[in-house]
Amino acid sequence: MILFILFSTITVKAFDTPNDGGGSITIKAYNVPETVKKALVYRKTEGDTTYTFAGVMSILSYRYVDANSTIKNGKPYYYRVDFYFPDTVISVESDSPGIAYAQWYDKTKTSSLIFLIVFSTLVLVFIQLAKKDPEGLYIRKIPALDAIDEAVGRSTELGKPTFFVHGLLGITDAGTLAALTILRRVAKKVAEYDTPILVTNFDPIVMTASQETVKQAYTEAGRPDAYNEKNIIYLTYEQFGYTAGVDGLMVREKPGAIFLQGYFFAESLILAETGHSVGAIQIAGTTAKEQLPFFVAACDYVLIGEEMLAASSYIGREPVMLGSVKGADWGKAFLMGVIGIGVVLGTVGAILQSAGNGALMNVFEKILAFF
């Protein structure tokens, strides 16, 4: 009689595993008594007379994902699960076969998609608004940027060259792109003051882009003749070889201003301390948050994280660039709103739940699940 009740309550369902590229079926068991010790899953398909062993079902989630390489999309598979109890074994077959399909959309990523659409729209809208009304845009002052002119100027007074040291990441890094914009401003100042500049590179593509950037800056400053490709040099494709090379150049050329811009790793402080020891004004900028403390300690000015990305938009003062900064700010506001609502709901929900009302907690869980 007990056996009969157990037998009749357990059900097994086999269905296509959602949100995947096919080739996988999920088997789930319901109403399994807690006394179960283990559960083994067996599979058969059309033409098979007997079940073959597929795998071990978790007795915590009562789920098994069968992603065996023999499973073909669109073909029915039948499953049997053997539940092992202390005194007996019960076999339950799935009520209908499972068929695997490939999906065209992954529903678990909906939150990313929504945020992507919201954020892209914000950026685009503000770029459009900025084009219409370029004067209406405010961007707060970034002290390290104003220091660029000062640094190059002082370097000129001392009759010393200016160094621009790129970080280690390639051209696809947002910080590297920002560094190129900053380089353009620096190179333009250098061309106007007619002082030497040296740009060191770690990445070949960045080097090519730097050459173009400096060339253009010299042209903008009306000094295309003064541009020399040999001042934008490639040192080596090794992190500390690069560091050794830049350090050597610093102590020998004794620059008056040093710009350390881009994504740096541990070499940040080796470069910044050596730069300090030769008495240069140093302006650093990086999105590598773990290196920021060292730049803050050893440099005169630092562009911190997103400041660097915003700075490049600030320099250009092109409406489209500034618009995107504003768009990103609204993205922050949206995110802070979501976090804030989550926190309020979570806190109130936690209090209410301890008072016996779980409804709000459910809403909160849904918001959490969104992420």
């Binding site: 992603a67 992190q239 541990a266 020891s277 948050k289 773990e290």
Partner: protein, 284 residues
């Protein structure tokens, strides 16, 4: 110019000299300070320990080069020793960057001396370098054999018992990434985010602070931070009766303590001087 003025403007080479002395003396004459186990290390140790008998492998990725070797190599050695002692299958991967292969080889050589019954191909496999970085992490999710083809020694992976049964993240209990850079985050982005494989990391003391967010969100199972983390793992091996060999990390910890104190002393003296000089200048 008074004493403090001169002290504040001291040639930094004197500081270098003092630091050097502070490192060398404890190395020659160790002080023997005790080791405390912290939760992230304990968690990683327990997670790996629980894989025993699970038929799931550990993938140990050496994503560092000689520059961070003093901190990260002892971790690699300790984890390999742990797996060897508990017969947990382990795939030693030379890492996403070519420099890691030499490190991995060194770690295997150092670890296997105490475990004569370990068989290559059954208990561990050594994978070499293939280019692609984040792409390799994704590719392992499809097929290890497809990604690597051969092991470091040139054996076909479909002839080795371990890689015949373990071909992607489904049979990998944990990926432990040893790296001093942002690579552990790449393992999270690609292996954990896309394939749900659990990730642990051994990182330099500097990157450890950066990875705390991941630890709290549960993206990392556990973490070894710097020489101290390695020393703690060595201590856990010792407590569980696993041979530890020469405890490199533990030896280095004494020198650490002395230099830390030295730097703190420098900061305090620097501030005393700073306030003294400032007060005098204000009076004038």
């Amino acid at each position: 110019m008074g004493f403090w003025d001169r002290f504040l403007k001291i040639d930094r080479r004197w500081i270098f000299l003092v630091v050097w002395i502070a490192v060398v003396i404890p190395l020659i004459k160790p002080l023997g300070l005790p080791t405390h186990i912290t939760p992230p290390v304990q968690k990683l140790y327990d997670f790996i320990d629980d894989l025993q008998g699970e038929e799931k492998a550990v993938l140990l990725s050496f994503d560092f080069d000689p520059s961070t070797m003093p901190e990260l190599l002892p971790m690699g050695v300790a984890i390999i020793r742990h797996c060897f002692a508990k017969k947990i299958p382990i795939i030693v991967y030379g890492g996403l960057y070519p420099q890691g292969v030499g490190m991995a080889k060194m770690a295997i050589d150092m670890a296997k001396t105490d475990f004569p019954d370990i068989v290559y191909g059954r208990d561990y496999v050594f994978l070499g370098y293939v280019p692609g970085v984040s792409l390799v992490i994704l590719s392992i999710g499809e097929s290890i054999q497809g990604t690597f083809g051969n092991d470091y020694f040139g054996n076909r992976l479909d002839t080795l018992p371990l890689t015949m049964s373990v071909d992607n993240y489904e049979k990998i209990g944990i990926v432990v990434d040893l790296s001093g850079s942002s690579i552990p985050a790449a393992w999270i982005n690609y292996a954990y985010q896309r394939y749900g494989c659990r990730i642990g990391c051994g990182t330099t003391a500097v990157s450890a602070a950066q990875y705390y967010p991941y630890l709290q969100t549960g993206q990392f199972v556990g973490m070894l931070g710097g020489l101290k983390g390695a020393a703690e793992y060595e201590e856990l091996l010792e407590r569980n009766g696993i041979p530890t060999g020469r405890r490199e990390a533990t030896i280095g910890m004494d020198a650490q303590s002395v230099v830390h104190l030295l730097i703190i002393l420098l900061i305090i003296l620097g501030n005393i001087g700073f306030f003294y000089v400032r007060r005098r200048e204000r009076r004038v």
